[in-house]
């Protein structure tokens, strides 16, 4: 269009000293300060940081869509040499969608529920190229095929809600590609998706980037994903870029204390809860209006030097010798980056104690009525199918699986919120499978407690923290008087390392990590012996995750607790669990010690899952196994083996057995269980998915 003056060897996007503020009635809140970055044609730039660091604000500023309250207060954003910050709405409209396109976090929310997919796609070329309706639909069909969706004719005539999450995200990508934009902005495009689906989307994005030569601005909180997708990266902290450079150079030769701390707090292969525990970043993310003077990271930094780091604004300084590598640290040249971390407290491995929980052949079926208007046929959903396992004192058992695998139902049955359809649950020598929670003895209830996933939801927003813990104490019949319980509550706050003053606070005054700590304190109020932790850290920022995980481990060590750790994140599972149970569509497909599960032979699903998890370590070599399609619905599971629709090993089983029969559980050496038809010698020939290159 108007890019005749633009020289393709120049950067496609140049952001210089950008500052963005949001204006509320009370004050101006700076969201992004002095941010600069450059994206060259064909390059993929990653923006990494924790929530609230301003990375999405940067993306929206490029689109000039900051809403009513947001304003660019300084700096420039040049796209193909033209300044976007001074463009009129009309000029912007020609660029949006045709030259810069955006892909969002929630695919379902970004598609119009009342318009057919094809219509939403065809709209783009009709607006920007003045294409006829028929041509635009034909193009839409072709692009839908390009994003590897099956049966494009059906898809373009469907409404968004008729597609699965993965398919919807592919449609959003297709929509962004309709006008062959020069720059693609991806804002956490896979966060809402399951890991195995995410792997497919990431593959697609990489291929399309190469195919169309599109530049990308890739926003993510996941370092592993950025390593997978991007060429360059920019780490943000509290509204500022703190380090930028080539992805591999930054990963291997980081020159900012925040980047270093971030890497030390995520569980990479080789981390171990006993011998080399994670190192959490101390303190909290500063609120926008409470940022310190000088370096924003100063108060949490190990290398902080008073009078120097907090003297004044810290500029970006170039790291010589590398490719456009820069760091916002006054001391970067003096720090010994190769020094090993100050040794954290190491502990010895705990031996598992007596058996506390035993599930035998547990089944949970639901009757669900089909049809939108009630009535209709009743259908049985098999949420849990023949679940058997044991857990011992002191042990951490991880339960791994993606959405619909039945892990939440399992937790509900165990807690007594639902009763089992058949099978047995032995909890401390007591059969509880048919005892709903109201009929359980308070002693039993207090010994089995749960930590919930969503920190923003786990505490009652209209009751103060202390009151909520005291209520748990009252219900568990602890303490003899109000004063007694109040004292116990303060001790519990000490245990989860929260200041005692927090007892008076309302949940909205707490950060996510602090709320999660209160949730843990509440769960342990009655001296819980078995704790079900349902994704307790997955909604938290990486640097906070380490601290909360650490806390759980500490409490476990003190109380000899059995921890049932439900998670979809294999990195954290490998780090902290003793044994792992992998679930898929209600079935336990693999069960064994952590070492057994993370090394061959694998169940084909575990293999794919391991391959799909992005790892932020340049030394790791992975075999790429991308699963076709989406997870089948639990309402309508495939016949035979639940995994057969996506299994790449299916051809190795003779006689189409996978489609006919549910496989038996094979018990391999060391009690390692795999539910698969593959013969023992095929399993034995499997190769490891992840190898760490020798340094």
């Amino acid at each position: 269009m108007s890019d005749t003056t633009w020289d393709p060897s120049k950067p496609i996007l140049e952001i210089e000293n950008l500052s963005i503020s949001f204006f509320t009635r009370l004050r101006e809140i700076p969201a992004v300060m002095d941010f600069s970055c450059t994206v060259m044609p064909g390059e993929a730039m990653g923006l990494v940081g924790e929530s609230g660091c301003g990375k999405s604000t940067v993306a929206l500023a490029v689109m000039r869509d900051l809403g009513k309250n947001g304003r660019i207060v300084a700096g420039s954003i040049r796209f193909k040499g033209r300044d976007l910050t001074t463009m009129t709405e009309e000029e912007l409209r020609h660029i949006r969608g045709s030259e810069i396109a955006m892909i969002y976090q929630e695919p379902m929310a970004s598609l119009n529920p009342a318009m057919k997919v094809g219509e939403q796609l065809a709209e783009v070329p009709m607006i920007h190229q003045g294409m006829s309706r028929a041509e635009a639909w034909a193009l839409a069909r072709q692009i839908v095929a390009d994003v590897r969706l099956p049966d494009p004719d059906r898809i373009i005539n469907a409404y968004p809600h008729q597609l699965s999450g993965g398919q919807q995200q592919r449609i959003v990508i297709a929509m962004a590609l309709m006008a062959k934009p020069a720059l693609l902005i991806l804002d956490e495009p896979t966060t809402a998706l399951d890991v195995t689906v995410e792997a497919g989307i990431v593959d697609l994005v990489k291929d399309l980037g190469t195919k169309y030569g599109t530049s990308m601005l890739f926003i993510s909180h996941n370092l592993g994903l950025v390593l997978d997708v991007c060429d360059r990266l920019c780490v943000m902290y509290s509204g500022e870029a703190v380090e930028t450079g080539d992805v591999r150079q930054v990963f291997d030769k980081m020159r900012h204390p925040y980047t270093q701390a971030l890497f030390r707090s995520i569980p990479l292969p080789g981390a171990d809860k006993n011998s080399s525990p994670l190192i959490a970043i101390p303190g909290n993310f500063p609120l926008p209006h409470e940022r310190p003077k000088g370096c924003n990271f100063g108060p949490r930094c190990d290398y902080f030097q008073d009078g120097r780091c907090n003297a004044g604004d810290v500029p970006m300084s170039v790291v010589p010798g590398d490719d456009r590598h820069a760091s916002r640290c006054v001391k970067w040249a003096e720090i010994d980056w190769a020094a090993p971390p100050k040794a954290g407290k190491t502990t010895t491995k705990l031996e598992p104690g007596r058996l506390v929980l035993k599930m035998d052949d547990l089944k949970k079926y639901y009757a669900v009525s089909t049809g939108a208007f009630g009535g209709g046929l009743k259908k049985v959903v098999k949420a849990n199918e023949t679940l058997s396992f044991e857990a011992r004192e002191n042990e951490t058992l991880a339960i791994v699986g993606e959405s619909g695998c039945g892990k939440s139902t399992f937790a509900k049955v165990l807690m007594g919120l639902e009763t089992a359809t058949s099978g047995q649950i032995m909890l401390f020598d007591e059969n509880v499978q048919n005892t709903p929670i109201q009929s359980r003895h308070p002693g039993t209830v207090s010994k089995l407690q749960m930590v919930f996933q969503n920190p923003f939801d786990t505490l009652n927003p209209s009751m103060n923290v202390g009151r909520q813990i005291i209520r748990a104490l009252e219900i568990f019949q602890k303490g003899s008087s109000d004063a007694d319980r109040s004292e116990m509550m303060l001790k519990l706050l000490d245990m989860v390392k929260l200041p005692r003053a927090f007892a008076e606070r309302m949940p909205r005054q707490l950060s996510g990590g602090q709320k999660q700590r209160v949730g843990i304190a509440r769960a342990f109020a009655g001296g819980a012996k078995v704790v079900v932790a349902d994704e307790p850290v997955s909604a938290l920022d990486v640097s906070v995750q380490a601290a909360v995980t650490d806390l759980l481990m500490d409490i476990q060590r003190e109380n000899r607790t059995t921890l049932l750790f439900i998670s979809h994140d294999l990195s954290i599972v490998r780090y902290l669990s003793d044994r792992v149970m992998v679930m898929y569509l209600g079935h336990v497909v693999e069960l064994g010690s952590t070492d057994q599960v993370f090394s061959p032979p694998y169940h084909p699903y575990t293999e794919a899952l391991l391959s799909a998890v992005p790892i932020a370590d340049t030394r790791v070599k992975k075999r790429r196994i991308v699963l076709e399609g989406d997870i089948p619905s639990a309402m309508n599971p495939p016949p035979g083996c639940p995994f057969q629709t996506r299994c790449r090993w299916k051809s190795q089983v003779p006689g189409g057995l996978c489609e006919k029969e549910v496989p038996p559980v094979q018990v391999l050496a060391g009690g390692h269980q795999i539910k698969c038809h593959l013969s023992a010698d095929v399993l034995a020939k499997m190769e490891p998915v992840i190898t760490i290159a020798a340094e």
């Binding site: 786990t458 209209s462 509440r522």
Partner: protein, 384 residues
């Protein structure tokens, strides 16, 4: 004596309303001074819409409170020669007094009647709304929380009442004949039981872990509750403190009956949304009873939409009471309430508009104030 001109009429009215102005200024000055410490109420004073709504509502509240000082004449007294007198007419035979807003068709002072009418409206509407809320909440909570057959049944009954055209219901429920049959007493007996149940369950679910404390709280509320209940519903209060005019009871009960199903539906909807929250699951996993979860975990978090609806509903109830008055149902013809005054005035509307227009404007401004207040509250509570 001369007839007064309009500016003088307004000046005189403003003078008579002096206690109201003083009270308003004091309320606003104190509230704005301490607004940061007053939670949601304090936030009202951040929004112009909410403040103007609150000012209108409080104007009528204070008018109702100080009505005895404000009125210039007996609202029921007829003064000969003042029939349909125009606003600002001097009162015959009494030097220095005027019918500020004229006289009605029975030669009564319109200004005094409107002021006294405020007292009547503000005595019934909020109280009826409170009872309707207690009924709606007590039934809506379990319907939303448990679902299933209970929900189907209660929802069916609620829809049944809602499908009734309100006017028809009033014509059937609020007639002098119906009092003979005792139906209002039966309805009152059922509806007035809910507040007692509500408060007892509320306290019991919270304090059952500590029996002595629970027995004290529940006991006290039972005694007071049943005492008031016996007086209000059956007029059997042995001490004679609680009682309600049968006419009023009839109107009151009908208004509660019409409002409760809507509250039920709102509460049920909110509960169905909130019951999937993790803090509810946390309550369940530590073995809390369903009523504790409903009343202490869910209800406090539903307060935002409920407070907004409460304001709107007082306005709606005011309109309903006016409708009743307009059709001459359930109120004595003497009564200064706004609805029946409008009805009285409309017969001569084309010739003497003032007896109808004044209460019409009064009613409109009160409802407008409540609506503005609700709107402001909604916006402020969304801002968190």
């Amino acid at each position: 004596m001369e007839e007064l001109s309009w500016p003088v009429i307004f000046a005189k009215m403003a003078w008579h309303l002096l206690p109201v102005w003083i009270a308003l200024v004091v309320t606003f000055a104190l509230s704005i001074r301490f607004k940061r410490r007053l939670g949601l109420y304090g936030k009202l004073f951040d929004s112009t819409v909410a403040m103007s709504g609150f000012a209108l509502v409080m104007f009528w509240v204070f008018t109702a409170i100080f009505a005895d000082i404000i009125i210039t004449h007996d609202p029921l007294g007829q003064i000969s020669g003042m029939k349909n007198a125009l606003p600002g007419s001097p009162v015959k035979g009494a030097e220095g007094t005027w019918y500020l807003l004229g006289g009605d068709s029975l030669a009564r002072d319109v200004f005094s009647r409107v002021v006294m009418g405020a007292r009547r409206v503000l005595a019934i509407a909020p109280a009826a709304t409170v009872i309707a809320f207690m009924v709606g909440i007590t039934l809506g909570l379990p319907a939303g929380y448990f679902g299933g057959k209970l929900d189907t049944l209660l929802s069916f009954v609620a829809n049944l009442v809602l499908a009734f055209p309100v006017i028809l219901l009033f014509y059937l429920l609020v007639t002098p004949e119906i009092r003979v049959t005792g139906i209002p007493i039966i309805l009152a007996a059922v509806l007035f039981l809910f507040p007692v149940i509500f408060i007892c369950v509320l306290l019991n679910s919270r304090y059952f872990t500590n029996p002595p404390q629970r027995n004290l709280y529940v006991g006290v509320s039972l005694v007071i509750g049943l005492w008031a209940y016996s007086g209000l519903a059956f007029n059997l209060d042995p001490l004679g403190v609680w009682s309600m005019d049968p006419n009023l009871l009839n109107v009151f009960v009908s208004v509660v009956f019409v409002n409760a199903p809507t509250v039920f539906r709102i509460v049920r909807g909110i509960v169905m949304d909130l019951k999937s929250r993790d803090y509810v699951a946390a309550g369940q996993t530590r073995g809390e009873g369903p009523w504790y979860i409903m009343l202490w975990e869910i209800l406090p978090n539903a307060r935002g939409p409920l407070i907004v609806d409460f304001c709107l509903r007082i306005g709606y109830t005011t309109i309903l009471l006016g409708t009743l008055g307009f059709f001459g149902l359930g109120v004595s013809p003497e009564s200064p309430d706004w609805g029946s005054t409008i009805d009285d005035g409309r017969r001569l509307l084309a010739v003497f508009p003032h007896p109808a227009v004044v209460p019409a404007l009064a009613l409109m401004s009160l409802v407008l104030g409540l609506n503005l207040l609700a709107d402001g509250l909604r916006e402020e509570s969304l801002r968190d």
